[in-house]
C-alpha cells in the first residue's frame, strides 16, 4: 500500500511537470503579442529593440478602428442577449417542458458544434439574401446567436439541473403559475449562470471571425478590421497593441464569467461541460 502511494505521487510529479510544459506551449505564442507590442521595432523578431508605448498611441484617433470597435460591442451585446434568451428558454423547456418538441429544439440548438463555421457562414449568407436582408449587422447578429447558442444552452442547462427539482415543485404546489415560478424562483436562482452565459456569448461574438467574414456588409467588426490590417507589414505593431488590449479585456471578462458560473448553490460542484 505504501509502495502504491509513492508511485502515485511520483507519477503525479511527472504529470505536473508535463502540465507545466503544456501550459507554456499554450501561452508562449500568445504572450509574444503583448511582448512585441511594447517593442520599438516594426518587425516582430528577436533581439528586442527597446521599450515603447508608441504603438498604443497609434490606437487613439483612428476612426476605422473605433468604428469597428463600436460595431463589435453593439453586435456582441445584442447577439449575446439573443443567445442567452434562447439558452435560458431552450434548456428550461428541455428540462421542465416534458414535450418532444422542446427536447428536439434543445438537440438541434446544440447542433452548430457539429457544423464547421464556414458552412454556418454560407448557409446564413444564402438565408439573409433570400429574405432580402443581405450582408448586414442584423445578419451578423443572427450568425453570432447561432455560434454562441450551444454554449449558452449548455451553461444554462447545467445550472437548471443543479437546482433541486423540489424547489420548482414547491412553488407550483403553493399556487404559483408557470410564469411566476419561472420569473420569481427559477430565474433568480440561476442568475449567476445567466450572467456567465451572456459574457461567454459576448466573448464568442466579439472574437468571431469565420462566420462574420461572410455576413458583414459595409461596417466591419473588430476581427475583420484586424484581418484587413494584417496584410500591411507596417501596421503589424499597431495590430499587436490592439491584440494586447483585446487579450487583457477578454481575460477579465472570461475570469468574471468563470467566477459567476461557480458561485452559488452551496458550492455544489458541477461538471464544467
Amino acid at each position: 500500500m505504501k509502495a502504491q502511494g509513492t508511485t502515485t505521487t511520483r507519477d503525479g510529479r511527472w504529470l505536473g511537470l508535463y502540465v507545466l510544459a503544456y501550459l507554456v506551449f499554450l501561452y508562449l505564442p500568445v504572450l509574444l503579442i503583448p511582448l512585441f507590442s511594447f517593442n520599438d521595432s516594426i518587425q516582430a523578431a528577436f533581439p528586442l529593440q527597446g521599450l515603447t508605448l508608441q504603438w498604443y498611441a497609434t490606437l487613439y484617433g483612428n476612426p476605422a478602428l473605433s468604428g469597428a470597435l463600436v460595431n463589435s460591442l453593439v453586435i456582441g451585446a445584442i447577439a449575446a442577449s439573443g443567445a442567452t434568451l434562447c439558452g435560458i428558454t431552450v434548456s428550461y423547456m428541455d428540462l421542465y417542458g416534458r414535450s418532444p418538441l422542446a427536447a428536439t429544439i434543445s438537440t438541434i440548438a446544440r447542433l452548430p458544434i457539429l457544423i464547421p463555421g464556414v458552412i454556418v457562414g454560407i448557409s446564413l449568407l444564402i438565408l439573409v439574401n433570400l429574405v432580402g436582408l443581405g450582408p448586414s449587422r442584423v445578419a451578423i447578429v443572427l450568425g453570432h446567436i447561432l455560434v454562441a447558442l450551444p454554449t449558452t444552452v449548455v451553461v444554462m442547462r447545467s445550472r437548471f439541473v443543479a437546482i433541486p427539482r423540489t424547489v420548482r415543485e414547491a412553488a407550483l404546489d403553493l399556487g404559483a403559475s408557470d410564469w411566476t415560478t419561472f420569473r420569481r424562483v427559477m430565474l433568480p436562482l440561476s442568475l449567476p449562470a445567466v450572467l456567465s452565459a451572456f459574457m461567454l456569448a459576448f466573448l464568442i461574438s466579439f472574437d468571431e471571425f469565420i462566420v462574420v467574414f461572410f455576413l458583414a456588409g459595409t461596417e466591419p467588426t473588430l476581427p475583420l478590421y484586424i484581418w484587413s490590417q494584417l496584410r500591411f507589414p507596417r501596421s503589424l505593431p499597431t495590430v499587436m497593441a490592439l491584440g494586447t488590449v483585446i487579450l487583457a479585456v477578454s481575460i477579465i471578462i472570461a475570469g468574471t464569467a468563470e467566477i459567476l458560473r461557480h458561485r452559488g448553490l452551496g458550492g455544489a460542484r458541477r461538471n464544467p461541460a
Partner: protein, 294 residues
C-alpha cells in the same frame, strides 16, 4: 373537488401560453436559422449556377464535378489528413493534462481548469497570427535560431507549409480537447480504481483496463470537437499554410467569393457535412464498442 378544478383551469390556460412563449425563441432559431438554412444549402447544391441567388434547374452536375475532378479529391484528402493529425495531436497531448486535473490536481484544480480554458476565450485570429510571428522568415523562431548560433541564416522552411497549419491548428484548438476528457475521467467512480488495485492490478494495467476504456466517451467527444472546426477551417491555411495547404474550407469560401459559384460551394459544403456525419457515426460506433458504460 370543484375548487381544485377551478384552481387548476386558469393554470392550465396560462400554462399553454407559457409554453408557447418559452418555446418560441428556440423554435425560431433552431428551425429557421439552423434547419431551414441548412436545407437551403442542400437545395442549392442541386442547382445550376446562373448567377442568381438560388440558381436554376435541377442537376447533380456539382456533385459530378466534385467526384471526377482530382483537385477536389486531393484537397478533401489533405483536409482530412490535416484535421486528423490535428485531432490526434490535441487529444494525445490533452489526455495527460485531463488525467492530472482529474486525479492529481487537488486544490489547484480550479485554477488549472481556468488556465487551460482561458486561451479558448481569447481571439482565435490572434492565436493564429501569433504563429505567423513565430514561423516567419524574419520571425521569432528564425531569429532565435540565429541568435543562438544553431543556424547561420534564416530559413523559409517553417511558414507556408502544411506542417505549419497542423502546428497552428493544434495549438489553437488544444483547450477544446481537455474539457470533455476531464469530465469523462472525473466521473469514473474512485471505487473502480481501488477495486482494480485491490485485485492486484498494477497501475499501468489499471489505467489500460479501467481508466482508458471508461474515458473513451470523453476522448471521442474531444476528437469531434476538434475535428469539426479544423476540417472546415480556411483562416489558418490562408495565414500560415501557403498555396500547398489549401483546404476544403478555402475552396468553399472562394466559391462564395472570388469564384462566385454558390451552387458549387453549396455542393462542397454538403460533401463536408457528409464526411462529418460519417466521422460522427464512426465515433458513435467506436463509443459503443469500447468503453460505453451504459
Amino acid at each position: 373537488m370543484s375548487a381544485i378544478i377551478a384552481a387548476r383551469t386558469p393554470e392550465a390556460r396560462s400554462s399553454s401560453g407559457f409554453r408557447a412563449t418559452m418555446l418560441l425563441p428556440g423554435a425560431l432559431v433552431t428551425f429557421l436559422l439552423i434547419l431551414f438554412a441548412l436545407g437551403l444549402v442542400l437545395f442549392l447544391a442541386f442547382r445550376g449556377n446562373d448567377g442568381s441567388l438560388l440558381g436554376v434547374g435541377l442537376t447533380v452536375e456539382n456533385f459530378a464535378t466534385v467526384a471526377t475532378d482530382p483537385l477536389y479529391w486531393t484537397v478533401t484528402l489533405r483536409s482530412l489528413v490535416i484535421a486528423g493529425l490535428v485531432t490526434l495531436a490535441t487529444v494525445v497531448t490533452a489526455y495527460p493534462v485531463a488525467y492530472y486535473l482529474a486525479f492529481h490536481a487537488g486544490h489547484r484544480r480550479g485554477l488549472l481548469l481556468f488556465l487551460v480554458t482561458l486561451p479558448f476565450w481569447t481571439s482565435y485570429l490572434l492565436r493564429v497570427f501569433a504563429w505567423k510571428i513565430v514561423l516567419a522568415y524574419n520571425g521569432v523562431l528564425n531569429s532565435a535560431l540565429i541568435e543562438s548560433g544553431i543556424w547561420s541564416e534564416p530559413t523559409l522552411a517553417f511558414l507556408n507549409t502544411p506542417a505549419a497549419v497542423v502546428v497552428t491548428l493544434a495549438h489553437a484548438y488544444a483547450p477544446f480537447a481537455i474539457l470533455p476528457i476531464y469530465v469523462a475521467l472525473d466521473t469514473i467512480p474512485k471505487s473502480l480504481l481501488e477495486a482494480a488495485s485491490d485485485l492486484g492490478a498494477r497501475p499501468f494495467t489499471a489505467f489500460r483496463r479501467v481508466v482508458l476504456p471508461n474515458s473513451m466517451p470523453g476522448v471521442l467527444a474531444a476528437a469531434l470537437v476538434v475535428f469539426v472546426p479544423t476540417v472546415g477551417d480556411y483562416v489558418t491555411p490562408a495565414m500560415v499554410g501557403g498555396p500547398a495547404s489549401t483546404m476544403i474550407g478555402t475552396l468553399i469560401q472562394s466559391q462564395f467569393g472570388k469564384a462566385n459559384d454558390w451552387p458549387f460551394g453549396a455542393a462542397l459544403s454538403v460533401c463536408v457535412m457528409l464526411v462529418i456525419l460519417l466521422v460522427v457515426l464512426v465515433a458513435r460506433g467506436a463509443d459503443r464498442r469500447f468503453g460505453s458504460r451504459t
